[in-house]
């Protein structure tokens, strides 16, 4: 069975936020408005975190695009009281919006702050949204799903044509949109896939690896040349 994962090359990331916008459009992520944004309530499944380099203060900025890291041992699903978030067999951490009671325990438990809350009814169903992704109501938690609806579509297509999903047939919106090709998506269970090869690179690291959450989003550090 496939194990979907992502590699993000920090050397290539320019911090242009194309991934963020592509994600918002693809997944019907609401724009919360200026007032709510000012109160720290932006919803951004893919968020570019910025970090100043400790060696070169304020001279150099590090951009870390952070989707949900789809941990293999996720702290968020452990604490959910109602099975509203769980790991599916292909390693994607799913979120059941219609079951979530909005206790926000998963948000408190996620060490990557990858979960977002609908503090108000930010949007209703309307034309122009992606019909494949349900619109979230107020009071529930949401997060990146690795564009799971695209996997479902690809699988249906492959099934109709009586074949397996081909590599590259299922891709996330952020990976597709990245102009620098810093985001590579694919099957980590297939040792020949590009994402698997990159994940084995000596530059590969995981965010907060010491926590033992086993993220399936792997980063490649800036190379020597970048310094």
């Amino acid at each position: 069975m496939a194990l979907w994962g992502m590699v993000i090359d920090l050397d290539r990331c320019t911090g242009c936020q194309a991934c963020v916008m592509a994600c918002k459009a693809e997944n019907n992520v609401p724009a919360v408005g200026q007032k709510e944004a000012g109160r720290g309530r932006i919803i951004s499944w893919m968020q570019v975190l910025t970090e100043t380099d400790e060696e070169h203060h304020s001279e150099k900025m590090r951009f870390i695009p952070r989707p949900c890291l789809q941990c293999d041992d996720p702290p968020c699903i452990k604490v959910c009281p109602v099975y509203a978030t769980y790991r599916n067999p292909e390693g994607i951490i799913a979120q059941i919006y219609n079951r979530c009671i909005g206790c926000r325990f998963c948000m408190a438990a996620c060490p990557y702050n990858a979960k977002y809350f609908n503090w108000y009814t930010y949007q209703k169903e309307q034309p122009g949204q992606n019909p494949d992704v349900s619109v979230r109501e107020k009071g529930v938690v949401e997060k990146c799903t690795f564009c799971h609806h695209r996997l479902q579509k690809a699988r249906e297509r492959a099934h109709a044509e009586n074949r397996e999903i081909e590599p590259g047939e299922y891709n996330t919106a952020c990976a597709q949109a990245c102009p620098a090709q810093a985001i590579i998506f694919g099957d980590l269970a297939d040792p020949g896939s590009e994402v698997s090869k990159l994940a084995r690179s000596p530059r590969a690291f995981k965010l907060q690896e010491e926590l033992g959450t086993k993220p399936k989003v792997i980063y490649l550090t800036e190379g020597e040349g970048g310094g």
Binding site: E36, R39, G40, R41, I42, Q47, L49, T50, E51, I64, R66, P75, K78, V79, C80, P81, V82, Y83, A84, R99, C100, I101, G102, C103, R104, F105, M107, A108, A109, P111, Y112, N113, Y116, F117, N118, W119, Y120, T121, K138, G139, V140, V141, L207, Q208, L211, T213
Partner: protein
Amino acid sequence: MVDHKDDYEDILLAPIAHTGPGFYWAVAGLSVFILWGAIAYAVQFHQGLGVTGLQQPVSWGFYVTNFVFFIGISHAGTLISAILRLSKAEWRRPITRMAEVITCMVLFIGAGQILIDLGRPDRMLNVIRYGRYQSPLLWDATSISAYLTASVVYLYLPMIPDIAVLRDRLKKRKLFYSVLALGWTGTEHQQRILNRAIAIMAVLVIPIAVSVHTVVSFVFSMTLQPMWHSTIFGPYFVVGAIFSGIAALIVAMIVFRKAYGFEPYLKPIHFRYLGQLLLIMALLWFYFTFAEYLTGYYGAEPEEMKVFWAKFTGPFWPFFWGMVLCNFIIPLSCLVRLSRRTIGKVLAASLSVTVGMWLERFIIVVPTLSFPRVPFPEGVYSPSWVEWGLMAGSFALFALFYLLFTKVFPIISIWEIQEGREVGLKEVEERLLTYLPDEAEANILEASRGR
């Protein structure tokens, strides 16, 4: 025993028999705050949690703080009363009921905080339909409902003889008291069964009470977050809970002593003993806090240190040092010498501890969430009027529940006071004698020494 109708019963029955204007003023005053809370909740229910000051990353604030605080207060009652009963502390007699009522009332308020905090209160029952036992939230639900059940039973059982007194002596609510008195006539057989049942419940309630605040702490310590993921959180929370519980109990005792003229029953000696208990808990609390923070500081893990310094010198310093002042310095200076002006000092210490323990809960919940591990934009949490309203309303609702209880049932156990006069005195004397070496033993001892 119930047949005895001395004058001293009248003071205890007076609040139920007569109602003065003070009661209505108190109810009116409390209702204002409850109304504020109700309006706040209506607004929140209608619009969503957006009306609070919560945001990303501080997704838990006042409600969770109040949850931990109120559940902590609940340890006043049943636990203290059970320990005092089991240790045969004779001075417990006028105190136990007051303590037990706090537990039962405050548990409702505490559990309510979690419901207020839900983004989707309409889906509350999903916790039962799809309940996932691996989540500490389910442990909380189980433990708290067990504690509530046990506490209500433990409150009710010792009240049966008193309800019988009310049934026989009051002219109002005859049917109500008759049903609740369960046909109590005070025969020896009934008394024996009752004492047995109370003893069983007292033993049963202690582990449940300990489990309650342990699992409340697990909500935090089971996560990986800095300054939450700590093995001593269970006992640390239990100690803090008993600490704040005693403080709340003392405040309630002093209020009702004044309001109902219970001075003959609640004497300075009671407050001195409780004050000493509070002092011990203050020292224990300080020990745990010291151990917790020193361990974090010495290990100096960068993520822990971010939160650590935020509390010590960063944006949360007023809360942190306020907590140290209220939980340790003020109670310590008030409680070391209690021989004179006991009640004033104990009251000052208790009010201070109540504030301090609230700050402690706040300082545990909010700073950790404010400083995420990843370079996520840091959040500044400031509660909105809705959260203030619900907090004021919760406190007022608790006070109102308590007040109404005192108007329906005697808040000081009548029969236990009588038992103290009639049975307790003799029992204590006999018990004391068993502690001392008797003549035969003394002779044997002398003989063996002589040889």
